[in-house]
């Protein structure tokens, strides 16, 4: 029974305030419009305030659990390097990781008690091979576009390359649906730059 089911598991990890929820909403809109069953799970509320946030995102033909099984993620999208690393064990052995090359220091690092891990992409490469680790200059691309808040959509654009059957227009339509009108152009540019970065 289980074998008939094809499911793709995407684990999104970031810092509260980075906009991982908008990112996963765009993905949800795109994949449900494309005819897949979609489930996604995230935690809101106090856990959001600058803390680590994760989204479990699953799509396929038939999905039961909204949560990805530990160690069963096909993709890990790290919106921040340390947050990506925190969930390294959630990836399958043949999984792929897409990292935003952005560091946000947690309190223990800020006050000098602990140090921020070195060369996080290198750690991923040592476990998954260099062909499965993708680093995106999400923050810098967003900064050039004039608003660092859109790094999340840059990452969505980068990730869109891994679903080559879905046309760009589907993604743009999702952005138009979910982003307030005055920010649409900016977010569309962010998406396109991200898509180009790994395209």
């Amino acid at each position: 029974m289980k074998k008939d089911r094809t499911v793709t598991n995407i684990f999104l990890a970031g810092v509260g305030g980075q906009g991982t929820i908008l990112a996963s909403n765009i993905m949800g809109h795109v994949l449900s419009t494309a005819g897949f069953e979609v489930k996604k799970a995230e935690v809101h509320g106090m856990a959001q305030r600058g803390g680590d946030v994760v989204t479990h995102f699953r799509f396929g033909t038939k999905i039961y659990s909204p949560l990805i099984k530990y160690g069963d993620a096909d993709y890990l999208i790290g919106f921040e390097l340390l947050e990506g690393l925190r969930y390294i064990n959630w990836l399958k052995n043949d999984g792929k990781v897409i990292l935003n090359n952005q560091k946000m220091y947690p309190p223990a690092v800020n006050i000098g008690e602990m140090s921020y891990p070195d060369d996080i992409p290198g750690i991923f490469r040592s476990h998954f091979g260099k062909n499965n680790v993708y680093v995106v200059e999400g923050l810098e691309i967003a900064r050039k576009l004039g608003n660092i808040q859109v790094a999340n959509v840059v990452m969505v654009g980068a990730f869109s390359n891994f679903l080559p059957d879905l046309k760009e227009e589907l993604w743009l339509e999702a952005i138009r649906n979910l982003v307030p009108e005055r920010f649409q152009d900016l977010n569309i540019k962010a998406f396109q730059e991200g898509r180009r970065a790994l395209g």
């Binding site: 029974m1 809101h44 803390g51 099984k69």
Partner: protein
């Protein structure tokens, strides 16, 4: 039919709309807040209000039901503790228009002060409870809840939880159908609704009869579903727990309960006949397990392998049944040794300077429910007790009564504006009346902040953002008998410290209100306009690396370990750094710095 992706809470709101609900009331609380927000934003046919607390929300819904329309109240699990007084007796009176109370549990306490299992309310209050597992069921069960409510003359509980309310999945949309019922109040029905002892005793019997009928109904309820596959192993489950079990053991047999109270006893008996080994998979308490054991069944596994604490997950369920056969996925590194990232107060938040002051004054702080609970984390560590909405005020008074004059100058209670209105008034009233002397600080940031910016009676707007009255906290304090009422502007550390110090040392009740300090995320209050400069930076020639600015735990400030000397020759082990991307210019760090090493950035 059109299928759209929807969050569980959004689907409950949609279900209420399709069911023809006319009145919806709620007090925000994670993970339930989006239910009323969605109703207020999308469904103008429904009157929607943020009530002052959950009990009022249930009262409002109860009154609307009595007048003949369908009505709904929604809240988080602990909200039901507040609302229970109304619910426990509404269960006796029954309803006219359908009455549904939505309770959203929070296993693992992602954003709560405890982890209670709301299914107990159904048994305790003698009312049926439905439990959806995904967004489609959220919508369908909400509609069914109204039908059951009217058919059986009972309030119906709908239990959600974090992984249902805050999960998105596909939903088939339907149309709104308003029930064709006469509305109005009928004075002749007092014996049904007026719960004085003589009528209570009559209704008590009706309730028992109703529960018997509901149990019969449960046996044929179309969302109590038996799936017979492999008859060697079977699982009885409900809600999201069912989805976890189905994910990992799809070949087993299942009895999925859409209605978790009363239980479909015949159906359960039948399942035990058909399946050899029956296990129960449920989050939190052994609710189903206790009941099913009491029916005389032998259970293969239940809480002996499934944890009774925190959330479940597919791998927890898999490991529970496979035991040693469970293959743990490969561990590439020990991630528990990575620096943790606890949630923190936002950069520029007005709570940060206030709690810094309380810490410097060495006060024992009776906290409450809100964002400010984040001031508990190191390095601030400025809250020492948190129990429930309003508790800090009453507990500070009680502690002062225990300590007598010895306690003066040593403690205070803090609570947010929304929390103050929700549950802070009765304990505040208690203090002057009983000749107490404790200090209460209202952290007025002009909105219910933690749950995502909901309006309240002090914010000046309704749930639909219509301007309305705004409660005046000074007048409340005066009316309740507090004579010493002071204002502080938390961003001025020195003045705030002086005022609080004076008040906590006074041998009389004090009420301190934080003024002009809106939530930094509340755009309409233009919080950033209060700040003179757009940001601050560290002057590297002056910073001595003393780390005083790190004590405020502001997200943009970090410490760079790098030995050096200041311009005037002081050796240092490192220096502070302010990330311009995150700094909003609140100036608190500048006030904390003793060496004038933090300077404004002038654009």
């Amino acid at each position: 039919m059109k299928r759209v992706i929807m969050q569980g809470n959004e689907a409950i709101a949609r279900g209420a709309w399709e069911a023809g609900v006319k009145v919806a009331a709620a007090y925000p609380g994670t993970p339930s807040s989006e239910i009323l927000r969605n109703i207020a934003e999308k469904y103008p046919e429904i009157y929607a209000e943020w009530s002052v607390n959950e009990m009022v929300a249930v009262q409002v819904a109860g009154g609307a039901s009595l007048a003949g329309v369908r009505a709904m109240a929604s809240m988080k699990h602990v909200g039901m503790n507040v609302a229970s007084d109304a619910f426990m007796t509404l269960s006796y009176t029954g309803v006219k228009g359908g009455l549904v109370i939505v309770i959203a549990d929070d296993p693992y306490s992602h954003s709560s002060q405890n982890e209670q299992d709301s299914r107990h309310w159904a048994r305790f209050g003698k009312a049926p409870m439905l439990e959806p597992s995904d967004s489609q069921e959220c919508k369908d069960f909400t509609k069914l809840a109204f039908e059951i409510s009217e058919e059986f003359d009972t309030p119906v509980l709908l239990r959600s939880e974090t992984r249902v309310s805050h999960c998105d999945s596909l939903v088939e949309l339907g149309e709104r159908i308003e029930p064709n019922r006469k509305i109005g109040l009928d004075r002749k029905e007092a014996s049904k609704y007026n719960m004085i002892p003589i009528y209570v005793r009559q209704r008590r019997l009706v309730v028992e009869e109703r529960m018997k009928k509901l149990e019969e109904f449960a046996n044929s309820f179309k969302y109590n579903i038996m799936e017979i596959n492999d008859t060697r192993y079977g699982i009885i489950s409900s809600g999201v727990s069912y989805l976890y079990a189905k994910e990992v053991f799809p070949e087993w047999s299942f009895l999925k309960l859409g209605m978790v109270w009363p239980l479909p006893k015949k159906m359960i008996n039948e399942f035990f006949k058909k399946v050899k080994k029956v296990a129960i998979v449920e989050e939190l308490d052994p609710f189903l397990e206790t009941e099913i054991r009491a029916m005389g069944h032998r259970i293969w596994h239940g809480k002996d392998v499934i944890p009774a604490v925190y959330e479940l997950s597919p791998e927890i369920v898999e490991r529970a049944f496979k035991g040693k056969r469970y293959k743990t996925p490969k561990t590439r590194m020990d991630t528990s040794s990575l620096p943790k990232r606890p949630p923190n107060l936002c950069a520029g938040c007005s709570h940060r300077p206030l709690f810094y002051v309380l810490k410097k004054l060495g006060l024992f702080v009776f906290g409450d429910i809100g964002c400010y609970a984040l001031a508990s984390n190191p390095p601030l560590e400025a809250i020492h007790v948190t129990i429930c909405m309003g508790a800090g005020v009453g507990m500070a008074h009680g502690a002062m009564k225990a300590l007598g004059k010895e306690g003066l100058g040593k403690s205070c209670a803090v609570l947010g504006d929304s929390t103050f209105l929700h549950a802070g008034l009765p304990p505040l009233m208690d203090i002057p009346y009983n000749k107490g002397n404790s200090t209460t600080i209202v952290l007025d940031n002009m909105i219910t902040a933690m749950t995502g910016q909901q309006e309240h009676p002090g914010s000046g707007y309704t749930a639909r953002l219509e301007p309305t009255i705004a409660v005046n906290y000074d007048e409340i304090g005066k009316a309740l008998g507090v004579k010493s009422i002071r204002h502080v502007y938390p961003y001025n550390l020195k003045e705030t410290m002086e005022i609080i110090k004076e008040e906590v040392n006074k041998d009389e009740p004090s009420l301190i209100i934080c003024k002009d300090s809106p939530c930094i995320l509340l755009r309409r209050a233009k919080p950033l306009e209060r700040f003179k400069y757009p940001a601050y930076r560290v002057n590297e020639e002056k910073c001595r690396g003393c780390k005083a600015c790190l004590e405020i735990n502001c997200p943009p400030i970090s410490f760079i370990r790098e030995e050096g000397v200041t311009k005037d020759g002081h050796k240092r082990k490192g220096r502070a750094f302010i990330n311009r991307d995150q700094c909003v210019g609140c100036s608190v760090c500048e006030q904390v710095c003793k060496f004038e090493a933090i300077e404004p950035v002038v654009n």
